[in-house]
Symmetry: C2
Subunit: 350 residues, 2 copies
């Protein structure tokens, strides 16, 4: 805010009403040490002159800024918008604003990003680390959203159980040969998801795991993963550890002339915005990001009595709790069908 806001202070209200600033403060904060009538006229006056409290003064006085930092080292994470929205919403409901902590695309700069936020006086930090990077103690409340397998994790989706759900679903469809596809073995989230998938598929299903990062080290980045050969080998389902990967799988299969889901089912995780935009729409597992965000904010162990909105009591999970994921069945998965080797002619889609 700029320098000029001379009239809209507590002092201004106090003078206009011939009372003390302390009384104005008490009336406005609603702590009830003021007579009902006086409080009412103070509030009316505040409204009238367009009073906006000075966060700076409040912060200086109370030692709390009312701001939390959100650190998302991997900005290319396509989940970013949903996460940011969920955190902002939960924070706002708890009386907090959210500062962006960016590590300039470099995961290594995570610590640096946190330091910058701390300099800004944030009351706490929510971190969504990437690839198992450890978060050191920073002398301020921290909540970490990662994977239950990550030490220090505060709250997260139950990625393993999500994998189990997806695995069971694919098995129930009748798939007996499934390719599991992950990006990187260093991601606890992905390892959990694939681990759960294996458990959910059960012992009767043959499966194989493809780690894209590893494969690309051999064939080069962005190259074809050789998925159509897998179809030829008899794989009927491709379960990816993320929608991003599932998209890659889906388009590569389609490009090779393979019909999804008729010849091959494809599934992902996360329910990204475009997951229902592609054809066929992607079957996926959704995280309850709102609940995760609320828990993360609550885990910061604070709670400014917020002014206007009385937030409905939201369910809270204990520290470290795993939030269930939700299976979203769409068109990219179906029961496997026996398909002749030569590519079957598809009916006109319209």
């Amino acid at each position: 805010m700029n320098i000029n806001r001379p009239l809209a202070t507590m002092t201004a209200i106090a003078e206009a009403l011939g009372v003390s600033a302390a009384t104005v403060s008490n009336a406005l904060s609603g702590k009830g040490r003021v007579s009902v009538d006086l409080a009412a006229s103070i509030k009316a006056k505040a409204e009238e002159i367009g009073y906006v409290p000075s966060q700076a003064a409040k912060a200086l006085r109370t030692g709390r800024s009312g701001v939390i930092g959100l650190v998302l080292p991997d900005i290319s994470n396509p989940l970013f918008p949903q996460i940011a929205q969920a955190i902002e919403h939960a924070a706002s409901a708890a009386g907090y604003a959210v500062l962006i902590g960016d590590s300039r695309g470099q995961i290594a700069r995570q610590t640096e990003a946190i330091a910058r936020l701390l300099e800004r006086g944030v009351d706490g930090v929510i971190i969504i680390p990437r690839r198992g990077s450890r978060v050191v103690d920073i002398g301020a409340p921290v909540a970490i959203i990662d994977s239950p397998s990550t030490p220090g994790n505060t709250v997260s989706a139950d990625h393993w159980e999500g994998g189990v759900q997806m695995g069971r679903y694919l098995a129930s469809l009748g798939h007996r040969r499934v390719l599991l596809i992950g990006q990187s073995t260093t991601s606890n989230v992905q390892v959990d998801r694939l681990g759960g998938l294996k458990a959910g598929l059960g012992p009767d299903v043959r499966r194989e795991t493809l780690w894209v990062e590893r494969r690309e080290a051999e064939i080069g980045a962005g190259q074809c993963l050789g998925l159509s050969a897998k179809v030829a080998e008899g794989f009927t389902a491709f379960a990816a550890s993320s929608d991003l990967l599932a998209l890659r799988v889906l388009t590569e299969l389609q490009r090779s002339g393979i019909d999804v889901p008729r010849q091959a089912s494809v599934s992902g995780f996360d329910d990204l915005v475009w997951s229902s935009v592609v054809t066929p729409q992607l079957t996926t597992m959704r995280q309850d990001l709102d609940l995760i965000a609320r828990n993360a904010v609550a885990a910061l162990g604070i709670g400014i009595g917020n002014k206007d909105t009385s937030v409905a009591a939201a369910p809270m999970a204990a520290n470290g709790e795993r939030i269930a994921m939700q299976l979203i069945v769409r068109q990219s998965t179906a029961a496997p069908v026996a398909v002749p080797e030569e590519i079957q002619k598809r009916e006109e889609s319209e």
Copy 2:
């Protein structure tokens, strides 16, 4: 930050060194009214005790928070991560932190989001409005990133010229029948892009425009757009107003058994993260978001002398300037080939 940070204040430094707080302030702010020696020892002491300036006190005193707000009403905008990163980077270089302004997914709540930021004492707001929503005067510096066609726009990519580039490129490939695909006619950005496309394609190219929102009003959301019929009609290129739309087009075509780019070229706009992940990789137009962000921050008309980093002078555009877009040619576009009516057998891709 929490209440306890008793030692790391200017007063603490002053006492430790037997000087006044004013001198410490002058030394640390580097305004040079302090002898070199004293300044050095003050800085050393600050370092030693881990001094972190209180933003709250500074804000209260100077009337400026050093924080700007970023309002992105359409959080489902897949460009969000790149934009947020670019703005944070530019703001940080100018000495600012960035507060997230969320309108809870509802475009109508844009004004509300701005108000919340203002209450937080931001020094200015950067807004990326959606679908031509007008931004009213808010009594604080504002920069709007939208489309040159939008009244009040501060800086943006030159979407029209980007369209021209793409149109020329497609025409140069030999396409003579092109389907232009936009989401909504109420988006100035999309209207500009398609307008530029038409201009770039030139008079020799037959084209038709498909507005998805309008079409979906008839056929229902998420339905097939009937693109394969267009291929049958002789359209050889599909130019979408965004990568998200292009993804939809690509997968629908592929699902219908159409080979991209052999039978149909597909292009988008924005170079989203997954654009190079799909097969075939998407030809697209990239915005220089870093430059746009720098201009937006600069347009706020402020500039805190920032502490450590001396940012290299960055090129600045005048108010309202249009930033050139960059054509990224990838695999989804190619010269059209005559294809027999019956779907041509594709070679194995591996």
